[in-house]
């Protein structure tokens, strides 16, 4: 089943008087359960593509469909709900809230969805077990290593059981060993929980954890 689809997707940025075409006519289709790596040189537009898919940015033209629903037709509230329930984001710099504990960071999407924390206690325990941070639940991000922080970010992305995980350079800020651990975790999530994962990466090693590579160069998909 197609879970992500883009058609004739274009994105142009204005820099003063200049119009810079970052994405040109992208047509893309990702099946449910796939682990896709988007690769390309710096400035190729791969991150832009990821954010358009996630609804964090609006295309200049073209369409993005998530689970059959057209993003451009959604209002802000609907898009927000979609980001809570259908998509989980993982960023290169983790983007955790520094003064909240691990547990509190992970449970944020649940709170945003208006749900009660006590109803998610068991799920929270499970997720922390999955990412290997059950014994660190009371710590704040400042007390964790880079790898641990990224695992918190992954746990947060999973807490509402979205169908899609979008990861922007998930191991870009980690050493090799830690990066491997994180990629193994993502792979496990993909295989065991059947989550669709789309990652943007420079790393060939990271890309090999996926089952498809999409190359982006000069705003277009190659290969």
């Amino acid at each position: 089943m197609q879970i992500i689809e883009t058609k004739n997707l274009n994105k142009t940025f204005k820099m003063g008087d200049l119009d810079i075409e970052v994405l040109k006519d992208i047509n893309l289709s990702i099946e449910s359960g796939e682990f896709v790596s988007i690769m390309g040189p710096s400035g190729s537009g791969k991150s832009t593509l990821l954010y358009l898919i996630g609804g964090l940015d609006k295309p200049t033209s073209g369409s993005v469909k998530i689970k059959g629903s057209e993003l451009s037709e959604m209002k802000d509230k609907e898009q927000s709900i979609m980001r809570r329930r259908d998509i989980g984001f993982v960023f290169q710099f983790y983007n955790l809230i520094p003064n909240l504990s691990v547990e509190e960071n992970v449970i944020l999407p649940v709170l945003l969805d208006g749900k009660k924390l006590k109803d998610y206690r068991n799920k929270l325990d499970d997720i922390l077990e999955v990412v290997g941070l059950a014994d660190r639940r009371a710590h704040t991000p400042r007390e964790l290593s880079g790898g641990q922080q990224q695992r918190v970010a992954i746990a947060r992305a999973l807490v509402n059981e979205p169908d899609i995980i979008l990861a922007d350079e998930p191991i870009g800020n980690l050493d090799t060993k830690t990066g491997t651990e994180v990629m193994q975790l993502l792979q496990r999530i993909n295989r065991e929980k059947k989550k669709t994962i789309v990652q943007v990466t420079h790393s060939k090693e990271a890309a090999e954890y996926g089952n498809r590579i999409i190359n982006v160069r000069d705003g277009r998909v190659w290969g």
Partner: protein, 832 residues
């Protein structure tokens, strides 16, 4: 170096609001400091001007006292010092009565002078004269205001009754209403030839007072000592006692300085927090330049230069603004009565006060910014360049302990400090109170957060929980709470004191259980009996009072001693006598016993059974303390003795005034009394009128204090706005991250508003707490300046402060909330 400087200047220009905020804080602080410092000089000058209006250039005065053989003296002993003096001017004084054609009677204060001597001492500016010279015989000079009031002109005759004998004078001069002719609307001054008046008073060749001015002012005290020996049984003193003036001015100075301290604390806080941001922003540039060879000293110097530049500009502007503030303050001190009398606001300052304010401005900027500068200076180049700045906030337990210790010292120190050290100790306590609250705010906020998390679940839902959690360790929120609490504390202090004074004034008038107070000449028992027959008068009481009685040791004085008639005193005065009132009043009638106010008990360090030696007209007399009273009449500087003893020891022939209880509306009875005593000069007022007049003069002073507290709040509000802006910049990333997780725009705005509301409630609550702590210090300051006003706390004021705090932060959060809804998520999330 010049590149770094260029960057610094560009930074200052770019961050306009922050630059404005720092300059504004420094400017206001130095302006208020300058104005407060100069205020006492200006107040002192106003007091001097008032005294100078009657005594002119006189520096030494000789006059009779209770030990003098006569109220008049000869000038021969003074003449021996003529070589040492610029002038010697003597006068004779008495009061005369003048009845107009319409049978209205006016009291005229007659001053007898040799005209040439008067012109040396206190020159008269004549508008017109008729046959004035030689100034001898029955000639009289009136002020133009008096002449107009009495409908008299130059050349007219004027029958004056002096000691019950009529004398006809001719108006030979009309003077401008200034100097010896400066009048307040109630008095009427006139000048007559000295020898004429002395003869009429059977004091030919003698005078009431001798005024002198030394040629060499540095010898003034030496000459006073010599003249004291020559005039052994008369008083020889400075004409205008500087000690009394300074004491009087000091009463104004201290409260102003208290307010300046509070404004300074807020300014220090704002500049400190602003410089933390400045140094953080400069870090990458500093790192870059240090990595290519700039020394630590060079980069430190750049930051210090920026700080000094703010101080110099702010200080210069502050000095200019300070002159304006001083003029406003001094003008506000003048009450209507002063203006009517022709007094003008004397603005006095000198270059040393300006310099002090300027130095304060620079010091304020440097001291406030030095800690962030030193912290940045300590970071190694490697750490700056690799962006490895340690941002882990270690829980500094010492802050909690320090905060608690400072708070404890604020509570304990004023209560235990000796009276002589009360003012500096209490000022320090005000500073400590602000510092302790700032140190304790993170812990107090932590407590509130736990409370809010529980409540907000039900009130605001999950956005409320998130908002409460976001307050935790949020530097900008904590800074806002600090600023808000300081501003609210300042407002609360001044409004509570103002409220307390108004209430005490009201209470003081409620202790006076009569409706009318009046005076006519020769107020004796006969007039008391006549008063009781007037329509509307239910009862009357003749009141004996003396003012400014010295103690025998000469070091202290009692502002007012009332002579109580034991049987009736309690019907007219409810003066807070402690214990069995009736029995104590009876004791007053039996011997030289005295009841003193608690404020005097503390001031003199006396207790029940001790003796106080009063300096009376019949010599020093011991009075035994039999009781105490709790009152703020005459600022608590009051005592009660038996009327029999007061009358005898002070040789009082007449009552000081008559107190009347009415059976009809006081305004009606007042007119009846005026009609009855119509032929005499009368001073009469109802209690309502007196209370209103008292409140008006207090209102003038408190208006000035309110300006200070409003300035403190204004600086605080600007600081809060700045913090919200900084907070938004720092939180862009986390706000964008929330959005990426699915927080809608509406939810984001809601969360920000709830954060602001929470911060406002906490800031308001801490401000009220801090205000109460600071207010607890105030009574000790007031006591130290002989103003023992009890403090009354107003629940309404506190509630308004709390609500105001929340309102301020809610309004300040509107801009960041709107910006958050327009946030570019990707930019914020992806890029540092």
């Amino acid at each position: 170096m010049s590149v770094i400087l260029k960057f610094t200047i560009r930074n200052i220009k770019e961050k306009k609001f922050r630059t404005f905020l720092i300059l504004f804080s420094i400017m206001i602080s130095s302006a208020l400091f300058f104005a407060s410092g100069a205020m006492s000089g200006s107040v002192a000058q106003m007091l001097v001007d008032r005294m100078r209006s009657s005594v002119g250039a006189s520096e030494i005065i000789i006059h009779a006292n209770e030990k003098s053989p006569s109220e008049y003296m000869t000038t021969s002993a003074a003449e021996a010092f003529r070589e040492d003096m610029d002038f010697i001017a003597s006068n004779v004084f008495c009061q005369g009565m003048y009845k107009t054609d319409s049978k209205e009677t006016f009291k005229i204060d007659l001053n007898g002078y040799v005209f040439s001597e008067l012109q040396m001492m206190n020159p008269v500016a004549l508008e017109a004269e008729y046959n004035l010279q030689p100034f001898s015989g029955k000639k009289i000079i009136l002020s133009s205001a008096t002449a107009e009031k009495l409908k008299l002109s130059l050349g007219d005759s004027m029958d004056l009754k002096i000691n019950d004998v009529k004398h006809r004078f001719v108006i030979s001069g009309i003077a401008q209403p200034k100097g010896v002719f400066l009048e307040d609307g109630r008095t009427n001054n006139a000048v007559v030839p000295r020898e004429t008046l002395a003869t009429l008073l059977n004091a030919k060749g003698r005078v009431s007072a001798i005024h002198m001015k030394p040629k060499d002012m540095s010898r003034k005290q030496e000459l006073i000592d010599s003249l004291s020996k020559a005039y052994g049984r008369y008083t020889v003193r400075e004409t205008i006692p500087e000690e009394d003036i300074r004491r009087g001015a000091n009463a104004f100075n201290v409260p102003f300085m208290m307010m300046v301290v509070m404004v300074l604390v807020i300014s220090v806080f704002i500049i400190y927090t602003s410089f933390r941001v400045i140094t953080t922003e400069m870090l990458p540039v500093i790192g870059t330049f240090r990595s290519i060879g700039a020394t630590k000293r060079m980069t430190d110097l750049v930051l210090l230069t920026e700080s000094i530049a703010y101080g110099i500009v702010g200080g210069a502007l502050g000095c200019i603004l300070g002159i304006g503030v001083l003029k406003i303050m001094v003008n506000m001190m003048l009450i209507e009565a002063d203006r009517a009398a022709g007094y003008t606001a004397a603005v006095q300052y000198d270059w040393t006060q300006m310099l002090a304010a300027f130095i304060l401005a620079v010091a304020l900027s440097v001291v406030s910014s030095i800690i962030p500068i030193i912290k940045v200076s300590r970071i190694s180049v490697k750490d700056i360049v690799l962006n490895k700045i340690e941002s882990i906030k270690k829980k500094k337990r010492f802050r909690l302990w320090l905060g608690l210790i400072l708070l404890a010292s604020v509570i304990i120190a004023p209560r235990t400090a000796p009276r002589s050290a009360a003012i500096p100790v209490d000022m320090l306590c005000l500073v400590f109170a602000s510092i302790s609250v700032t140190l304790l705010i993170p812990y107090i906020t932590g407590g509130f957060i736990k409370l809010f998390e529980g409540i907000y679940t039900y009130v605001f839902g999950n956005e409320g929980i998130l908002a409460a959690k976001n307050l935790r360790e949020n530097k900008s929120v904590l800074n806002n709470i600090s600023l808000l609490s300081m501003g609210i504390s300042a407002l609360l202090i001044i409004n509570t004191i103002s409220f307390s004074v108004s209430r005490e004034v009201g209470n003081a008038y409620r202790t006076l259980d009569y409706d009318i107070e009046f005076w006519v000449p020769n107020l004796d028992r006969q007039k008391l009996m006549l008063t009781e027959k007037i329509d509307g008068v239910a009862d009357a009481y003749g009141n004996y009072q003396v003012f400014g009685t010295e103690l025998a040791d000469g070091k202290d004085r009692i502002s007012c001693i009332i002579g109580a008639e034991p049987n009736k005193f309690d019907d007219y005065f409810d003066i807070g006598i402690v214990g069995d009132k009736e029995s104590l009043l009876r004791e007053l009638g039996r011997d030289r016993n005295i009841i003193i106010a608690n404020a005097l008990k503390e001031k003199f360090g006396v207790d029940m059974g001790d003796s106080i030696n009063l300096r009376t007209k019949r010599g020093d007399r011991p009075y035994r303390i039999i009781g105490f009273c709790e009152t703020i009449m005459y600022n608590g500087q009051i005592a009660i003795v038996g009327d029999k003893y007061l009358k005898s020891d002070m040789e009082l022939k007449y009552y000081n005034d008559m107190l009347v209880k009415t059976s009809k509306p006081p305004e009606v009875v007042k007119e009846n009394i005026k009609k009855y005593f119509g032929s005499e000069d009368i001073y009469i007022t109802t209690m309502d009128e007196m209370e209103k007049s008292n409140n008006e003069s207090n209102k003038a002073m408190f208006s000035i204090f309110r300006i200070f507290s409003i300035m403190a709040m204004v600086i605080g509000v600007f600081g809060i706005l700045n913090n919200f802006a900084i907070s938004f910049m720092e939180r862009k990333r986390s706000l964008a991250m929330f959005r990426s997780m699915g927080m809608s725009k509406g939810q984001t705005v809601k969360m920000i508003f709830i954060e602001a509301l929470s911060g406002g409630i906490i800031g308001g609550a801490v401000g009220v707490f801090s205000g109460v702590v600071n207010i607890s210090v105030v009574p000790y300051v007031m006591r130290a300046i002989d103003l023992p006003i009890p403090i009354h706390y107003s629940a309404v004021l506190m509630a308004v402060s709390l609500a105001g705090g929340a309102a301020v932060t809610m309004i300040a959060s509107v801009s960041p909330a709107l910006k958050s809804s327009r946030l570019n998520i990707i930019e914020a999330v992806k890029y540092e």
